[in-house]
């Protein structure tokens, strides 16, 4: 049993393992075990006991999420399992690795998940740009069909499962799970009101579970090796391992599987090789573009959901973005907000009209046109746009997280921009475009 299960088959230098090689390394043993020896209720209990939390950003307990799927007589219609492979949160590059380097691991996890909730149709909703991953997944699905792991009467158990790869047509909002469902139905990707929750009324009004790629990959190993083993992998309160990443001006940016609870410092200094020569760390977004900044004083914190939460940020996707001392914090936040403003689905006013306004205020400050009152405007925008419940989905509050934390940690940068009517980073590192 590998202590780094998710990447045990992964070698970026070669093609991913095919079905035969995957099976040789215990692949699909969990499918044999679950379908023949475990009831869906047994599997659900195992997932609950494992304390697995969703790896898509919100960290919701997977077992609990699944427990809301109706399991009594629903034979008159379909149930759906959807893999969220949209991966569009800026700074996130982990699901690509899992899909490009070990597609069978994801498919095995999806078969097990579908068995647990008794779904008969599964979709992999993948962003358009991941052509290679989509092709490899389709090839792996075809191999599974030929071998009888997918299709009708899987392993003679009477369980049927069809699996489709759906390649998206763009837009970050498709990653939000109810917007994703709208998009899979062929519509504009507007999020939906909850309740009803997708577990009850999701895709085409039927019970639907949406999970992140990495979450589903973990299912393979939890069923194979047990909940107790999975819990023992984490260093702190959270169980399992995680794909952590570091990008920005570090010596060795990348993505590594490490135990949950690995300290931030270890990630940056050991795995990412520390800062590039001539650059110092000023801050970081721990889990993608929509998480609050952390700074130097947080470096010894464990990358655990609750630890990072208590520090005022979110673990998010676990792939961090480093702000160095030669990059303008105001410019960085402007880039982030411009992304979110562009990607607003337009459904609700605070987000559709508010985010472009925030981007405008940040641009004014960044380009030396800012006034003191702009800081008050920004604070109000954080208050109104950033509050959960003021908008129809979490995109807009997520967008405001780096804004409010940047104003807290990099206040003097905002002030100098306004006072000097210029960006002091522009000389060394154009704030409108990095180095």
């Amino acid at each position: 049993m590998s202590s780094l299960p998710l990447t045990q088959n992964i070698n970026e230098q070669r093609d991913p393992v095919d079905l035969a090689a995957y099976e040789k390394n215990h692949g699909y043993e969990a499918v044999h075990k679950a379908l023949k020896e475990m009831s869906p209720a047994d599997c659900l209990q195992e997932i609950k006991d494992s304390a697995l939390r969703g790896r898509g950003g919100a960290g919701f307990p997977t077992g609990m999420k699944w427990s809301f799927v109706p399991m009594d007589n629903v034979s008159e219609g379909h149930k759906y399992l959807v893999c969220n492979a949209d991966e569009m949160e800026p700074g996130t590059f982990k699901d690509r690795l899992l899909m490009e380097c070990d597609p069978h691991q994801l498919i095995e996890g999806m078969i097990l998940s579908a068995w647990t909730i008794q779904a008969d149709i599964a979709y992999i909703f993948i962003r358009h740009e991941y052509h290679l991953a989509a092709r490899l997944l389709q090839e792996a699905i075809d191999e599974c069909k030929a071998k009888g792991y997918l299709g009708n009467d899987i392993l003679g158990t009477g369980f049927n499962l069809e699996m489709y790869v759906h390649s998206s047509a763009g837009r970050y909002i498709c990653g939000e799970e109810t917007a994703l469902i709208s998009s899979l139905e062929g519509k504009r990707a507007n999020p939906r009101a909850k309740p009803p929750f997708p577990q009850i009324s999701g895709l085409w009004g039927r019970p639907t579970i949406v999970n992140n790629v990495e979450t589903l990959c973990n299912i393979t190993h939890i069923i194979r090796n047990g909940a107790g083993w999975f819990k023992s992998l984490g260093l702190g309160a959270d169980s399992g391992t995680k794909l952590f990443g570091v990008s920005g001006r570090v010596k060795n940016p990348g993505c590594w599987e490490l135990p949950m609870g690995t300290p931030i410092r270890e990630l940056i200094e050991q795995h990412a090789g520390g800062m590039q020569d001539g650059y110092k760390l000023r801050g970081l977004l721990p889990g993608g573009a929509s998480t609050d900044f952390l700074v130097e004083e947080h470096l010894d914190l464990a990358m655990d959901y609750d630890v990072i939460g208590k520090a005022g940020s979110r673990l998010g996707t676990g792939t961090m973005i480093i702000l160095d001392d030669k990059t303008c914090p105001v410019g960085m936040v402007k880039n982030l907000v411009e992304f979110f403003a562009q990607e607003s689905c337009g459904f609700c006013t605070p987000c559709r009209d508010g985010l472009p306004w925030t981007a405008q205020v940040l641009d004014d400050i960044d380009t030396g046109k800012g006034m003191k009152v702009d800081m008050v405007t920004l604070k109000n925008q954080v208050r109104f746009i950033g509050a959960i419940g003021n908008t129809h989905c979490a995109l807009a509050p997520g967008a405001m997280e780096p804004v409010s934390s940047a104003m807290k940690y990099f206040a003097e940068d905002f002030e100098t921009h306004i006072k000097n009517k210029a960006c002091s980073y522009c000389k060394t590192n154009s704030s409108t475009g990095g180095a």
Binding site: P90, L132, E162, S168, L285, N335, F339
Partner: protein, 180 residues
């Protein structure tokens, strides 16, 4: 489910080619109703024509049993459905946060000069359309861009020159990125 063969309206079958119709029908075969494949169908049409013209859109709407306005509302929501002509290949340069930190802006200016093409425009020889792209999920190799279906990473000016030169003088696949 409606039978796709007998419901083929004349207009649709005269604009949409048999190859496109066959691919669209395959999608319809596992969808609960025809309009459910709207996005897949738009992508199929685009795959064959590089973009989705009004003529194609109208025919497709007809074929899927939707109004053209409804289908256009969907088409224009998604940034990777092109409702205007594009060149042979689309250059998508990531402009999100890590690529910004790593200096995509300079590269954007470089491409604009090198190809004499603005953002959203197509080169005179119809070879490239230059578009900005949100994070391409390769931030550890920033700055990155895609040319067609190929990802190119750890970019600098010299590398971009090499990629665009190779691409415009021969049809050889270069080895700069993972390929598809």
């Amino acid at each position: 489910m409606m039978n796709s063969k007998t419901d083929n309206p004349l207009q649709a079958t005269s604009v949409l080619t048999p190859a496109e119709l066959a691919e669209i029908d395959k999608e319809i075969s596992h969808a609960p109703y025809r309009a459910a494949v709207a996005i897949d169908a738009l992508k199929i049409v685009q795959k064959h024509h590089r973009w989705v013209s009004d003529e194609s859109l109208n025919a497709l709407a007809d074929y899927l049993g939707m109004s053209p306005a409804e289908l256009d509302g969907i088409a224009t929501f998604y940034n990777l459905i092109y409702r205007r002509p594009v060149g042979e290949e689309v250059i998508s340069l990531c402009d999100s946060v890590t690529c910004w930190i790593m200096g995509y802006n300079k590269l954007q200016q470089h491409i604009i000069k090198r190809l004499d093409v603005g953002l959203g425009e197509t080169t005179d020889d119809d070879r490239y359309t230059f578009l900005p792209a949100p994070c391409l999920g390769a931030c550890d190799r920033a700055p990155v861009m895609m040319v067609g279906n190929e990802l190119h990473q750890n970019l600098d000016e010299a590398k971009i020159d090499q990629i665009l030169k190779v691409k415009s003088s021969t049809s050889d696949v270069n080895n700069n990125g993972r390929q598809e």
